[in-house]
Amino acid sequence: MQTLVAYVENKPGVLNRVSSLARRLAINIDSLTVGPTDNEEIARMTIVAHTDEKGGHRLEASLEKLVDVLLAENVTDRSLLERDLALIKVQADQSNRPHLMELVKVFRARVVDVAPESLIIEVSGAVDKIDGLLEVLRPFGVLEMARSGRISMTRGSDLLRPPVAAEANGIAEKAILTK
């Protein structure tokens, strides 16, 4: 599994270009999240791809060839903070609700909706933690689940920010045609 972070132009069709590229390279995307940045013209993506190191390099380098991708970085081997968010609707009635509440506490999750025969648990954290909670909830009956997909950030002073004008690569328009 390879994790990439990318900054892209926030405009129609860019997600298609990114996913189409992965398809062309025969790389399966495990998770892809897109969200806004403080610059409304730029969006940030976290891509988790089902491929090896070589595929990760190929994907990174090919992504950066797309005109609308400002930066793509394979962060798989970096010190990384990863988060996934899940909403899980579990079957619950009076008899087992207290037991469920206990489990939720242990996993530092929250109950965000209670109905007579179900409740919704919100949990965020590393993928393993969510998978772990899911495992123990299964016997109660998981009715529905929604997961956000992973977002990732390198730790500490290792910054990944969109390029600013000063460092960006302005290709100079030159005399293009041979007369």
């Binding site: 298609n16 005109v67 609308d68 400002l70 302005g170 290709i171 041979t178």
Partner: protein, 570 residues
């Protein structure tokens, strides 16, 4: 100055230095054609939009500039797909302009509406839909910039009909390209560079693999200087042919599937490969597991995505070929590689004896004879545009190119039907050049409608059809690997000379070896286009050959005495 979008489009192309547009009109691009009629731009009416893209591609390859193709929406646009993919695979800077239905109708399955940007996304370097007249000038400037910078490639600009019809203020100065601000990667890793220099200066059996990147970079002189300083022999990719003179003693010739055996054996025995502007395509490497096992590798390449894609390398120097060679040059030591060069000469063995040119005249006409005679008659100075298949390989083997941009061929995609339209494009780029189409009877029949374009445009090129009555390369594979079961390869063709006459073009047929040179001379002397139908040996094969997937040194060699069983029909 207020202009319609269509007028802006023509004005922008003119200001970008465009002189010729290869295209075909239709409903969704009509406003542009109306404006074209009032502009200084010369429009070449093609007979099929695939031809338009190949012409733009041929123009780009012959000139080193950007070629422009134009078509209407729907089928006009989809007909361009093959030509766009051809340009993509060979990194050719082509800008395709398509009309589309009005922006309000987009997505409504309107008449002749197709999502051409969606269709061409994986085969263009970039593509874009323009729905507002005021965006046309800027978008075209961006398109030319993207197509021609870095690793070049095709860009498609889809302009909706309402954007063509609307009027807006035209201000060229303000319409500057606004491309996304990309991160600059620091590609100048000193450690990597030092390692490359060390490898270069310590190798005993070095070999340079030269590709089209040298041509695209315009680095021919720097490259020659590099080769002569380092005294390293050079093997060429098909698309690299011409970037280093064939007559140079250090030029070994073409490598790969149909490269000469000694070239491939030299690659397999080398202790260092210096790949310059080439991408280790499967047609040049054969089986990757056994490819150049004893060699360290240095890769000079502009595209990061090509590094370690097929062949892992010891030092990757990312950047423009010319710039990287310039940086390397002062560090390159001149070494005496005489023992290695002598060894390679020894690898030639009896190849020269096996060469078909050395065989006694059996009265039969071989394609190799035709091409070798063409080379001699044109003194190697023609611009030769080939199609795909056996004739393409024979051309690469028997026409020796000393000048860049004199061989134009579809390498990566291997597009049959490329030659004739690409040659028309090349002729517009180099009106003074002696342009020769070398094409098989199969490929010619794919785009022969462009003969009418030649007549309408009153241009002069020469067409040599290497006619063996088969889809020759496929037949060869059937002979070698499918026990001579010739399924769907025997090919009926019209009388090409008579066909040419029907178009108003002089046509001739040559069946004997002695008639080859006079026919070539007569064609060159004629002021008008001449088509020559060379009826060659039907079941001749291209040797040597590395079977697909085999190791580079496992070549099928040319038989000592090729059997001449099939008589040429008179």
């Amino acid at each position: 100055m207020k202009l319609t979008g269509a007028e802006m489009l023509c004005e922008s192309l003119t200001r970008l230095g465009v002189r010729h547009i290869f295209g075909y009109p239709g409903g969704a691009i009509l406003p542009v054609y109306d404006a074209l009629g009032r502009s200084q731009l010369h429009h070449v009416l093609v007979r099929h939009e695939q031809g338009a893209t190949h012409m733009a591609d041929g123009y780009a390859r012959a000139s080193g500039g950007v070629g422009v193709a134009m078509a209407t929406s729907g089928p006009g646009a989809t007909n361009m797909v093959t030509g766009i993919a051809t340009a993509m695979l060979d990194s050719s800077p082509v800008v395709c302009i398509t009309g589309n239905v009005s922006s309000k109708l987009l997505g409504s399955d309107a008449f002749q509406e197709v999502d051409i940007t969606g269709i061409t996304m994986p085969i263009t370097k970039h593509n874009v839909v323009v729905t507002r007249a005021e965006d046309i000038a800027r978008t075209l400037r961006e398109a030319f910039l993207i197509a021609s910078s870095g690793r070049p490639g095709p860009v498609l600009v889809d302009v909706t009909k309402d954007a063509q019809q609307a009027s807006a203020e035209f201000d060229w100065e303000k319409a500057v390209p606004k491309l996304p601000l990309k991160r600059v990667r620091d590609n100048h890793d000193q450690a990597e560079f030092d390692r490359a220099v060390e490898l270069l200066n310590s190798a005993k059996r070095p070999l340079i693999l030269a590709g089209r990147g040298i041509m695209l970079s315009g680095a021919m002189r720097t490259f020659a200087q590099f080769v002569h300083t380092a005294q390293i022999p050079v093997a060429m990719t098909l698309l690299g042919i011409g970037c280093f003179p064939a007559k140079d003693a250090l030029n070994l010739g073409m490598m790969g599937m149909h490269g000469e055996a000694w070239v491939n054996n030299a690659i397999q025995e080398a202790d260092l490969l210096v790949a310059v502007g080439m991408r280790f395509d499967d047609r040049v490497t054969g089986d990757l597991r056994t490819y150049a096992k004893s060699a360290r590798k240095i890769h000079l390449e502009i595209d990061r995505a090509e590094i370690n894609k097929n062949v892992p390398v010891d030092a990757a120097l990312i950047g423009d070929a010319g710039e990287t060679l310039d940086k390397l040059l002062p560090h390159v030591q001149t070494r005496d590689h005489a023992p290695w060069l002598q060894h390679i000469a020894g690898l030639k063995g009896d190849s020269a004896v096996r060469d078909i040119q050395s065989l006694p005249d059996s009265g039969h006409l071989y394609a190799a004879h035709v091409i070798n005679d063409l080379w001699k008659e044109t003194r190697g100075e023609a611009v030769v545009v080939t199609d795909v298949g056996q004739h393409q390989m024979w051309e690469a083997q028997y026409y020796h190119h000393d000048q860049p941009r004199t061989l134009i061929t579809s390498g990566g995609l291997g597009t049959m039907g490329f030659a004739l339209p690409a040659a028309i494009g090349a002729k517009f780029a180099k009106p003074e050049a002696d342009v020769w189409v070398v094409v098989g009877d199969g490929g010619f029949q794919m785009t022969m409608c462009e003969l009418a374009t030649i007549v309408q445009e009153k241009i002069k090129i020469n067409i040599a059809i290497i006619n063996n009555g088969f889809l020759g390369m496929v037949r060869q594979w059937q002979e070698f690997f499918y026990d001579k079961r010739y399924v769907a390869t025997p090919l009926v063709a019209p009388d090409f000379a008579a066909l040419a006459n029907a178009f108003g073009i002089r046509g001739e047929r040559v069946t004997a070896r002695g008639d080859v040179v006079p026919a070539i001379r007569a064609a060159r002397e004629s002021a008008e286009t001449v088509l020559i139908d060379f009826r060659v040996e039907q079941e001749d094969s291209v040797y040597p050959m590395v079977p697909a997937g085999a190791s580079l040194n496992e070549m099928i060699r040319r038989p000592n005495s090729p059997l001449v069983e099939t008589a040429v029909e008179p």
